[in-house]
């Protein structure tokens, strides 16, 4: 009896406490918290009443009733589902005490005889209870660990999610940045391309400017011949008429021969002027980009004269010896004449500039000389431009074909001449351009073009 009384009080107290702890830990729902607390307090109060009051043992039925309600509630209400193991643990004990009390009330004699068995059954029930409670505790701990793990997992997942979001944000940001940079670079590139076109045009115009004086001089000479021979022919015609009138036919025939000779000279010089003007137009015109059969020798000859007279017109004291050695076997090879002409012009102008520069610091014994040699060599045509100027320094040698590199004083060179020549020869014509030089002595540019003939 005493066992059942205090036992059930403790069991209810223990269940209420366990439920309260469980709810507190895992459920945000606080609705049962207070009620369970009251139940615990009620247990304490009731237990002390039972112990102190003389009719205390009568309360045993109240305990049984409470216990029955508690067990029923805990087995049926879904909220108490996690505590079911505990209910199973206490259930045999609860039933046993109830049965014992009923028997004591209904058949005290029988109860007395079976006291020993009850003791054994009690031992089993309590052992069962203790075992299950311990197991439940272990299970709870394992569960708790599991939950902890899940929580950690969740936390980590949340962290990862946050990180992923951050990364995505950064990616979007960077993408925007890169896109902007790309647009800026594209714009810059377009501007640079426009600037390059402009610069190439300026360079062309600058070299045309250099040429103008040379061209004027070159045209003047043939024009003088055309005028002079025409005048002479008029005089000769007068003479021929008078010779015919006086019957000197032989004389007249001689004069006619001279007239014819002069006529062909007029045609020759007229064509010469024509060729120069055409060359000038070709130079100023945008390159046709078309390869056509071109006489490399006459192109070189024409441009070296233009270059020479161009410099001569700018610098009155300038003079140089021009030596040309042309290989007549070359014939007409397929090149873009305007482009190759420009490349030649740059090489010649540089050569003349170099000898003029050296002349300034040299005495009478120095003879400025620019030599052009053409040569047919297997399937190639080699054009050598040699000058006995100051040569190219080791330091400058690496850079001479770079755009904007110039050794001329500021404002005198665009620095594009050689780089354009290089481009024309290597990219435009699949050719080669090489340099030999000794500082203070000479510079030699060797252009090699493939000898392609028109079929």
């Amino acid at each position: 009896m005493a066992l059942s009384m205090s036992g059930e009080a403790f069991v209810i107290f223990f269940l209420a406490r366990a439920a309260r702890r469980n709810f507190r830990q895992y459920s945000p729902d606080k609705s049962w918290d207070r009620a369970l607390l009251y139940i615990m307090i009620g247990c304490g109060v009731l237990l002390s009443l039972e112990v102190t009051l003389p009719f205390g043992h009568k309360l045993v039925w109240l305990w049984h009733a409470s216990m029955a309600v508690a067990v029923y509630c805990m087995l049926t209400m879904p909220r108490f589902q996690p505590l079911r193991t505990l209910v199973y643990a206490v259930l045999p004990f609860v039933i046993l005490t109830t049965v014992e009390d009923i028997m004591e009330f209904a058949a005290p004699a029988f109860k007395k005889n079976t006291e020993t068995y009850f003791g054994i059954v009690y031992t089993v029930a309590i052992t069962w209870m203790v075992t299950l409670v311990i197991r439940s505790g272990k299970q709870n701990k394992a569960l708790e660990k599991e939950r902890e793990k899940a929580r950690e997992e969740q936390q980590r997942a949340r962290f990862m999610e946050a990180q992923k979001d951050e990364l995505e944000r950064i990616v979007v940001e960077r993408t925007a940045e890169i896109t902007q940079q790309k647009n800026e670079l594209e714009n810059a590139l377009l501007e640079l391309q426009a600037a390059q076109t402009q610069l190439i045009h300026s360079e062309k115009m600058a070299s045309l400017g250099e040429l103008t004086a040379g061209i004027a001089h070159e045209i003047q000479n043939p024009l003088n011949f055309v005028n002079n021979f025409s005048e002479v022919n008029n005089e000769l015609l007068d003479e021929m008429e008078s010779e015919i009138k006086s019957g000197n036919l032989e004389e007249a025939f001689d004069i006619a021969k001279s007239i014819r000779e002069n006529g062909s000279k007029i045609i020759h010089h007229g064509r010469r002027a024509d060729g120069i003007v055409k060359g000038m137009l070709q130079h100023s015109r945008a390159s046709s980009g078309l390869k056509e059969p071109t006489d490399i020798n006459s192109l070189a000859d024409e441009y070296i004269r233009l270059s020479y007279h161009g410099l001569r017109a700018k610098d009155k004291s300038f003079n140089a010896n021009i030596k040309t050695t042309f290989d007549e076997k070359i014939g007409k090879i397929m090149v873009i004449p305007q482009d190759i002409g420009r490349a030649f012009l740059n090489l010649f102008t540089n050569a003349f500039y170099a000898v003029a520069d050296k002349k300034k610091d040299s005495g009478e014994d120095y003879h400025p000389t620019v030599e052009v040699t053409t040569m047919k060599k297997d399937d190639t045509v080699v054009i050598k431009v040699h000058d006995n100027g100051n040569g190219i320094s080791e330091r400058a040698l690496d850079k001479i074909f770079q755009p904007f590199f110039t050794t001329k004083p500021t404002g005198q060179g665009t620095g594009l001449g050689l780089s354009l020549s290089y481009e024309i020869i290597t990219q435009g014509h699949d050719g080669k351009i090489e340099v030999n030089t000794r500082e203070g002595e000479f510079a030699e540019f060797i252009v090699t073009l493939s000898a392609v003939y028109n079929k």
């Binding site: 011949f225 021979f229 001279s258 002069n262 000279k265 017109a313």
Partner: protein, 126 residues
């Protein structure tokens, strides 16, 4: 009178021969031609005893007309040959330089042959 014409344009020879055909026919002037300064000096070395009037272009490859003038005036003092300069660049600079080097006359291209004829005739008669 012997006249040496120095010019890198080869057709100058034909032109002078036609322009001065009367003078040549009448044996008043005999023309010699050199295509460069070097050739001119070579000619002068061979014929330095002959009285010579030299007509030289200034702008030529190799030895320029001005260098030729300087050399001639230095080398042939007795009697100094008459040197007339002819150039397409009739600028002050060229003129002053030619005169300071002792040029006897300075003509610009295109050559006015009637003026040249007068000048040559004046030399022959004077």
């Amino acid at each position: 009178m012997n006249v040496l014409v120095v010019d890198d344009e080869k057709d100058m020879e034909t032109l002078f021969q036609q322009r001065f055909r009367k003078e040549i026919r009448d044996n008043k002037i005999q023309f010699f031609f050199a295509n460069s300064g070097e050739e001119a000096l070579f000619y002068l070395e061979k014929h330095n005893h002959e009285a010579v009037l030299i007509l030289s272009d200034i702008n030529m490859p190799g030895i320029s007309g001005l260098q030729l003038l300087q050399t001639i005036k230095k080398r042939y003092e007795n009697p100094p040959p008459i040197v007339m300069m002819i150039t397409a660049y009739g600028d002050d600079e060229n003129y002053k330089q030619a005169m300071s080097l002792g040029a006897d006359d300075f003509l610009t291209k295109p050559i006015d042959f009637s003026i040249l004829r007068e000048k040559l005739n004046a030399k022959i008669n004077g």
